[in-house]
Symmetry: C3
Subunit: 155 residues, 3 copies
């Protein structure tokens, strides 16, 4: 067994988990530029079939900013169950459970979403990991502001 | 300090966490055979005093399949707070927090459960970890399809 | 790269995560003495502006005991998204997401809190980590027994 390779992989796993957590942290604090900074320059972000896939870190920042300012009064994104697989030394995929709570700016009842994020990650030339793709899938919602979501793939 | 032993334990912890996550993943996607494949051949699964303890991977698959087909329209199992202790090189126990959301096939209000899983894990002869025992305990429920649950042991 | 230092840090991270999980575990099982045992002797615990900051492990035990006996019939604390930074070999800070469910002794509707814990940790002379400071911040609440909370810092 190669212990040094095992330690490096554990460190990569920790860094990637921090990336997922940072997304939630900055989203809930309404910091769209910091959310966007976690993505690669050509990343794709797909929140569901009701809105076009967002492409590129700049578009991610400006698109998220609208929702953070006008749709939500508060949000709380709780992720867990991270299942991460490496596809090479500089690429990985994960499925992560998400329980997200939303308070709306217009006073609508709080919205909840139970589902998961499907992430693709890439190690940049500078050495740090970034989100290259993110797709949101829902097992179900309650009072949510979107009616149709990508499904989690229940049989 | 034995660094190689420490790394091996960290890898075991990661593999066991993946096992807990895979249970949730396959349950929520209604894949009873894949859920059962995470258990040892003689594993026990105790969902509470209202139903008999299920014994053996085959019985787990067939019993879970009934609930997944007839009781639930959707579920989402969010685990966290994994507290794992090794009882030897090939055995471990854990308490893991569970927040589970359930949408019912008959249109009943969504059921929620806040509680924990008590797991026992064994390393198989082939080297990989499996769930040897699972007991579900509830701190509380709301609109849940079971009335009586094993308690978490609040004083 | 110093692999031994990397492994030691991973072990510290695991021990500190266990500390956060133990807090939840013992709180939900109404074990105030065991909760207090996770804190340093001069630790501070700030649940929000409606109550004075609790100082010292003994005061933590006695103060928590009152709420556990009189306010709550059951609780379930689900933590995730642990973002931990070391501030030296024996000190660390973390932000950790919290979803907490509360059933009240007086029969009031279940209270929910979505937010985070801000922890400071110290390694004691005996070598083990303890909580030196804990501040609770809320993104939002529903039917909660406190009206005013420290905010998470949404812009």
């Amino acid at each position: 067994m190669n212990f040094e390779a095992a330690v490096l992989e554990l460190l990569d796993r920790r860094e990637i988990a921090d990336l997922i957590h940072s997304y939630c942290f900055h989203f809930d604090r309404s910091e769209p530029e910091k959310v966007a900074g976690l993505f690669t320059q050509d990343a794709t972000l797909d929140y569901g079939p009701e809105s076009a896939t967002i492409v590129g870190a700049e578009a991610i920042a400006s698109t998220i900013a609208v929702g953070l300012e006008h749709t939500f009064a508060a949000t709380s994104h709780h992720v867990s169950n991270i299942q991460l697989e490496f596809e090479g030394p500089d690429a990985a995929r994960a499925v992560t459970s998400l329980y997200a709570w939303h308070r709306y700016a217009d006073g609508s009842p709080d919205g909840e979403l139970w589902g998961c994020y499907r992430h693709r990650f890439e190690r940049t030339d500078a050495g740090s990991w970034r989100i290259a793709a993110l797709v949101l899938e829902a097992a179900g919602t309650s009072n949510f502001h979107r009616q149709t979501m990508h499904p989690i793939g229940r049989r």
